[in-house]
Assembly symmetry: C2
Homo-oligomer: 512 residues x 2
């Protein structure tokens, strides 16, 4: 058995059975091993940013890591931006990077690069295999590392000779340490704080915004009067009817400061202290009031749902009914607006849909307008690296056959990783992409104003995506995805309905 | 004057007047400064890999650096693969990366990353500005660093507050040290070696394959019987009628070993010792015969043309006539083949064209078939990172208005940075893109055979770009570039002629 085969067999034994790949020469033995070993689903992407974003979306929904397969330092580099997003989402990923043979690397052939150096900034764990006989053990360690709470990227660099040499040994799965538990004293302290009834916000992140955590937080809030809010960016939030209506910390600094004003206590539950996405001249960096005391119920690597359950018990908080927003009605007339789009989506989306949201600025203010939707999961671009949405949607659809994935995607962002559409067509994935086509970098126009700069012709040109207009139905068709353009709400609603009723991918260019 | 304005004014004063940009929030003051200061041509790209590849193509043709403008660590990461190629081409680039404000970085906001860590693997020089008053000086140092022979990437990280704060100071251009000169003793040694008449190869790289260097090398070869050859990958080779017909070291190891067999002496002229692009089981890593002695006339950072001139004089080598290949005739019938495509290109390309070659495997054996073309420059993807071709072509066209740029592009490679087409349309650049559409990763099928692996269904699927077929005319039209498909040689020749006669970009999908 060669090293590559021991790698594939070890991954399968560790529960990793999906691989997103953009392989090259140094990965040929891995690819050949897939032929001999059944059980690994291998999904090809035409760009590495799609590979890594897919792995992120997959694990957010599946709850366990996929493997990637990338080619040398530059192939990894192309995947770094979405690995950055995955790192911020605490997504477990087994990131496999084929590389020059151990004895060839010192010769500095043209494709030789500092692969480990590129990997380090996004990875919690980096190892380079040194011998075929150790590849199996390295792979098991990588899977284990990726699953350490709250989840992280484990990069295994695989020199070609460690894949092709004989002597591979399949390794057993290593135990995954459970997430840390919150100390009883902390629980008592937070319970005592909440009983005081002062203005308190529970800021939720990680597993605390999944269905179970949310329901527990709602019990606590109902019993104590504390407010609940989610972090600004979240890997996955459980939403829709029957779930707690949860606001997020707004993106614009002024709005965030307003949303958090009046708080005397900020309790972090798997969340981090909220700071501005960027600094702006004369605006605060910390978003909570300076006088608010910050408390930690559970750190991101601790077991938030368990901590919430224990806290609810400590408080004697009873199960509390959840008031759902009324079901939404689709908007079929009038101008296209963020609110109309959000309400129409909420009305038409099927039960148990998955939203991959990279709408950036357009739908920012309309998050609440989808609360009346059927139960669904909402994924965000967590690290601010543009180009996450389409790959996230693609990976989520691989993880969840039978669930409709809806990708809300700004046109500017979509252009970074549009190759994902080809993978959606190839794998016949149930992804509905809605391109919010405003033909500009709208967020930058806002940012330019926020930093106090006054745009002239040159600056405006740098934010203008017309000249020429992107034609999304043509781009989609060029990659085998059926598509259409909507310039009215009626047409948008009709296309959504049509897409949700059919299997496979569909793209709607919504001209706003 | 704020820091951003001092940066723009300093760049202009240092002769950097072109900026390829994909800006974000942290770069808004740079963009705003461009409004107030005339003279900087700012070219927008929709993906950072296009930005950096454009800067590479621009400087290869213009002979001086462009600036980039990238957004934070992940934006830089998206540009790393083409910076890797640029590093291997020794291309000067002033790589500007806006980033979090100095006081915001410690808060680890979502988009915060190890920007310098990402930069280091591709940069010869990395500096992070610390104060608005120093940005001008930092910029001047960056331009100087980028131009140190043979050229390198100088990355300047620009925290947002160093751009927006007042107190900017414009810095004067710093002197660029001239390339090192070869010692007289080296010249005499090499001359003595060449006079011995033993089988000797001059392996040329860098400026030695530009027009002047080539002519000098030809004088020496004619006088001494030495052979000439270019490195496998080159930033820019002067070719066509009136220029020396130069072979390159072949890519496949077996062919390279054969091409270099029989050599007793290998003389490096701005080139590096040739090694295999990858290692393969049982094949040599060094391509020259083990018994061949390696000599260095000029290291890459030394002045190769000057060394060749001095060597020619030392040898008393007379000017030697150059036998040009006969003008080629276009092939208008018969099957589409690499040779027919190369001959047709050679026959139809206008005088002084620029070729950006990322045809990967298809045209590999047909390099000699374009020798009968009018004089032209031929650029290659130097670092093996896929996705260099379209951006290279785009940047070259910005650098050379009036010259036709022809991008020979494999379909698989084209998908990595297809966003370049939009920039070509927006800037109305004279780029003719020829997509070699074989609907597979043909190179990987060869590599799979070369490593001795026997592909089955799964492996073949990983190299298959059909299912669905990419439709390049639709993809191009989606980004505003006129395009057509050619399935016969007659149609290919007609489309080439049509494109060369019209201004602006055009794309031909050549189905092979």
């Amino acid at each position: 058995m060669n090293g590559a085969e021991s790698l594939v067999r070890t991954l399968l034994g560790c529960g990793v059975d999906t691989c997103f790949a953009n392989p090259g020469t140094s990965e040929m033995h891995f690819v050949a091993a897939l032929d001999r070993i059944p059980g690994m689903r291998c999904v090809l992407a035409l760009f590495e940013g799609v590979v890594t974003g897919c792995a992120d979306g997959y694990a957010r929904i599946a709850g366990r890591p996929a493997a990637t397969l990338l080619h040398c330092g530059p192939g990894l580099a192309n995947g770094l931006a979405n690995l950055h997003n995955a790192r911020r989402a605490s997504t477990p990923i087994v990131n496999i990077v084929g590389d020059q043979a151990t004895h060839h690397r010192p010769l500095d052939a043209p494709l030789t690069a500092d692969t480990e150096g590129f990997a380090r900034g996004v990875s919690g764990w980096v190892r380079t295999a040194t011998h075929a006989s150790r590849v199996g053990g390295d792979a098991a360690a990588a899977v284990q590392a990726s699953r350490v709470a709250p989840g992280q990227i484990a990069t295994l660099v695989l020199p070609a000779d460690t894949a092709w040499d004989d002597g591979g040994v399949v390794a057993d799965a290593l135990p995954v340490p459970p997430p840390g538990q919150v100390a009883p004293a902390t629980l008592r302290d937070i319970a005592r704080l909440l009983r005081r009834g002062e203005p308190t916000l529970l800021l939720l992140g990680g597993a605390a915004v999944h269905a179970e955590g949310l329901a527990l937080a709602h019990r606590i809030a109902s019993a104590t009067g504390a407010r609940l809010m989610a972090q600004q960016s979240n890997a996955r939030i459980a939403r829709g009817r029957g779930r707690v209506a949860l606001e997020r910390v707004p993106y614009p600094v002024d709005l965030a400061v307003r949303a958090l004003s009046g708080i005397a206590h900020l309790v972090l539950v798997g969340a981090r202290t909220p700071v501005g996405f960027f600094a702006y001249p004369g605006k605060p960096a910390y978003l909570a009031p300076p006088e608010a005391a910050v408390h930690v119920l559970a750190r991101p690597e601790q077991d938030s749902p368990h901590a919430l359950a224990a806290l609810a018990d400590e408080l004697g908080a009873a199960a509390a009914p959840i008031e759902s927003a009324p079901p939404a009605e689709p908007v079929r007339s009038g101008p296209i607006s963020p609110e109309a789009v959000a309400r129409t989506l909420a009305a038409l989306m099927p039960e148990n849909a998955i939203i991959a949201d990279e709408s950036v600025s357009y739908l920012r203010g309309s998050f609440a307008n989808t609360l009346g939707a059927p139960p669904h999961d909402w994924m965000q671009s967590t690290g601010g690296a543009i180009g996450g949405g389409m790959p996230l949607a693609t990976g989520a659809a691989v993880a969840a056959p039978g669930r409709r994935v809806i990708n809300l995607e700004a046109d500017g962002s979509a252009m970074y990783t549009l190759q994902a559409l080809w993978t959606q067509a190839r794998e016949r994935l149930d992804v509905t992409t809605v391109i919010i086509s405003n033909r500009k970098y709208a967020i930058l126009l806002g940012e330019l104003a926020a930093v106090g700069a006054n745009p002239g012709r040159t600056a405006l040109d740098m934010m203008d995506l017309s000249n020429p207009d992107l034609d999304w139905p043509q781009l989609a068709a060029g990659m085998g995805v059926a598509a259409a353009r909507a310039e009215t709400m009626q047409r948008f609603a009709d296309l959504l309905t049509q897409s949700f009723a059919a299997s496979g991918p569909f793209l709607i260019e919504l001209v706003v």
